[in-house]
C-alpha cells in the first residue's frame, strides 16, 4: 500500500503544493490529470527524491520513504524529454541501471535483449541515440527505467512531445507492458482521453491541490461536460 499525506511545498513565497494526499494500490496506475503549472512535476520530483517537501508523509508498505536517498528509493522519474545518454548506444542506455548495480555480463545481456524484444527495439541496439525516432527514444527511456523493475514509475507526460499516431502506438505498448509486468505507476497527462485509457484510478490536480476519485464513474460524473463535448465531436462523422 502506498500512502501520501499532506505534502506541502512553496518556492519563494508562492505555494506550489497544498496538503496533497492520495493512495495508490500496488500494480495499479493512477492517472493524474492537470494543466501545466498545476504543480504535478514538483510533486513527482518530491516523490522521486529530487526535491525536498516542506512537510508531509510518504509511506511505501508502511516504511517512510522521505528519509531514503533517491538512489535507494527504486522510484524512477520519467519526464517528457527522453533524456537519453547521447554518448552511449541504445544497448548501453538500456543497460545503465544494471551496469551500476554491477550485474554479471551475460545475465545483463539477456535481460537487455529480452526487454528490447518487448519494446520492439531489438534491431536498434547498437545504434546511437541521435539516429532514433521520437517514439523509439521514448521507448528506450521507458525500457531504461523498467529494466531495474522499480517499485513505482512516475511518468510526467511521457508522450507529450510525440506525433498523434506514434502517441497511440506508445499508449498501446504501455498498456501491453502493464499487463505482462506488475507495475505501479503515476501517469501524469493533460489529455483527458489518455488519462482514462492509461489509469485504473483517476485524480485531478489544479493550483497545487489534488483530488482523488474513488472510481472511474465518480470521475466521469464530475467531467460530464468535457466527455459529452468529446462524444459530440465524434458523432458528426
Amino acid at each position: 500500500m502506498i500512502k501520501v499525506e499532506n505534502i506541502n511545498k512553496n518556492f519563494g513565497g508562492n505555494t506550489v503544493l497544498k496538503n496533497v494526499s492520495f493512495e495508490l494500490q500496488p500494480n495499479t496506475v493512477l492517472s493524474l490529470l492537470g494543466k501545466s503549472g498545476c504543480g504535478k512535476t514538483t510533486l513527482l520530483k518530491i516523490l522521486a527524491g529530487l526535491l525536498q517537501p516542506d512537510n508531509g508523509v510518504f509511506e511505501l508498505y508502511e516504511q517512510d520513504v522521505f528519509s531514503v536517498a533517491p538512489q535507494q528509493r527504486g522510484i524512477v522519474y520519467l519526464s517528457q524529454e527522453p533524456l537519453l545518454f547521447s554518448h552511449l548506444n541504445v544497448f548501453e542506455n538500456l543497460a545503465y541501471g544494471l551496469r551500476i548495480r554491477k550485474i554479471e555480463k551475460t545475465l545483463l545481456k539477456t535481460q537487455v535483449e529480452e526487454l528490447a524484444e518487448k519494446l520492439k527495439l531489438q534491431d536498434q541496439l547498437n545504434k546511437n541515440t541521435e539516429q532514433l525516432s521520437g517514439g523509439q527514444k521514448q521507448r528506450v527511456s521507458f525500457g531504461r527505467a523498467l529494466i531495474i523493475n522499480p517499485k513505482i514509475m512516475l511518468l510526467d507526460e511521457p508522450f507529450g512531445s510525440l506525433d498523434a499516431n506514434t502517441r497511440v502506438e506508445m499508449q498501446e505498448l504501455f498498456l501491453h507492458v502493464k499487463q505482462t509486468i506488475n507495475m505501479t505507476a503515476l501517469f501524469v497527462t493533460h489529455d483527458l482521453k489518455e488519462a482514462l485509457l492509461m489509469g485504473n484510478q483517476m485524480a485531478v490536480m489544479n493550483e497545487g491541490s489534488l483530488l482523488q476519485y474513488k472510481s472511474i464513474q465518480d470521475f466521469s460524473q464530475s467531467h460530464q461536460a468535457q466527455i459529452k463535448a468529446e462524444a459530440e465531436f465524434w458523432k458528426r462523422f
Binding site: 522521486a48 538512489q71 522510484i75 533524456l83 547521447s86 545503465y96 551500476i100 531495474i148
Partner: protein
C-alpha cells in the same frame, strides 16, 4: 569562373607555401639545397637518428603534452562539475582572464612567480621557511619542467572549463543527473559514467586541437625549459641557429619529421570530425 579563381587563391595561400617550405626542408635535410651541402647524403639523417636526440626530444615533448593535458582536463572537469551544479557562480567570471594571455607572457609571468628569486620564493622566505635561496625547489628550467606544465595548464584549463560548462548546459546535464539518480547511480558513478565521457566525446575535436598546440609550443619551453631535453620546436630552432653549421641540415630534418607527424595527426583528426555543426 569566379569559383575557379577563389579556389586557386585559396590553394595558393594554404597549401602551396606549406608544400614549398616542406619541400625545401626535405631537400636541405638530404643535402640537395643550402650552402654547405654538396649533393645527396643521408649523413644528416643518420647523425640525427644515431645520437638519439630525435627520440629524446619527441619523447620529452609527448611527456609534456600528455601531462599538461591530464591536469588541464582533470581541473576543467572538476570545476565544471561544481560550476554546473551551482547556478551562476561568481568565480566563473575569473575563468575568462587567462584567455587574454599569449604563451609568451604567461611564460614570462610564471617565470617570475616560480623562479628561485621569484614572488613565491620571496614570500616563503619572508616567513623564514628557509635561509638559503637554494633550498627553494626548482620549478623553472628544471628537469621535470614543472614551470612549463603549470603555464600550459594556466593557459588552457580555463578555456576547457568554460567549454565544459556550456556543453553541459547544452546536454541538459542537470536533468540527466536527476534521471540517473532515480535509476540508482551514485554521484561518483554519474560523474564517471555520464558527466565525464559525455563531455569528452562532445569536445573531442577541440581536445585534439589543443593537444597539437601544446605539442607545438615554442615560447613557453624557450623561457621555462632547460638545455636538455628540449621540446621539438626549441630543438629545431636551436639546431638552425647554434654554433655548428653542420647542425643546420639536422634542424631541417627534424622540421620534416615534425611536419610529417603533425600532418599525420591532423589527417586522422580531419577524418573523424563532422564538417560543420
Amino acid at each position: 569562373m569566379k569559383k575557379r579563381i577563389v579556389l586557386a587563391l585559396y590553394f595558393v595561400i594554404t597549401i602551396v607555401p606549406l608544400s614549398m617550405g616542406f619541400g625545401y626542408s626535405l631537400l636541405y635535410s638530404f643535402g640537395l639545397a643550402g650552402f654547405i651541402n654538396n649533393g645527396f647524403t643521408m649523413a644528416h639523417w643518420q647523425k640525427l637518428l644515431a645520437n638519439s636526440e630525435l627520440f629524446i626530444t619527441i619523447g620529452y615533448t609527448i611527456y609534456i603534452t600528455l601531462v599538461s593535458l591530464f591536469f588541464i582536463l582533470t581541473f576543467a572537469l572538476l570545476f565544471s562539475w561544481w560550476l554546473v551544479l551551482q547556478k551562476n557562480n561568481f568565480v566563473f567570471n575569473f575563468f575568462f582572464l587567462p584567455l587574454a594571455f599569449p604563451p609568451l607572457i604567461a611564460a614570462f609571468t610564471w617565470y617570475y612567480i616560480l623562479s628561485p628569486a621569484g614572488i613565491i620564493s620571496r614570500i616563503v622566505y619572508q616567513f623564514g621557511a628557509f635561509t638559503d635561496v637554494n633550498e627553494f625547489p626548482r620549478l623553472v628550467n628544471d628537469y621535470f619542467s614543472v614551470g612549463i606544465i603549470i603555464t600550459h595548464v594556466f593557459l588552457i584549463f580555463p578555456l576547457f572549463t568554460i567549454l565544459f560548462v556550456q556543453q553541459a548546459k547544452k546536454e541538459q546535464m542537470n536533468s540527466l543527473k536527476e534521471t540517473s539518480f532515480t535509476l540508482g547511480s551514485t554521484k561518483a558513478q554519474f560523474f564517471l559514467k555520464i558527466f565525464m565521457p559525455l563531455l569528452l566525446t562532445k569536445t573531442a575535436p577541440l581536445v585534439i586541437l589543443y593537444t597539437i598546440f601544446i605539442f607545438s609550443a615554442y615560447e613557453v619551453p624557450l623561457l621555462l625549459g632547460q638545455s636538455s631535453p628540449r621540446m621539438v620546436t626549441v630543438f629545431i630552432n636551436e639546431k638552425m641557429t647554434r654554433y655548428n653549421l653542420q647542425d643546420i641540415p639536422q634542424g631541417h630534418a627534424m622540421a620534416v619529421t615534425y611536419t610529417v607527424l603533425i600532418i599525420g595527426i591532423t589527417t586522422l583528426f580531419i577524418r573523424n570530425i563532422k564538417t560543420a555543426q
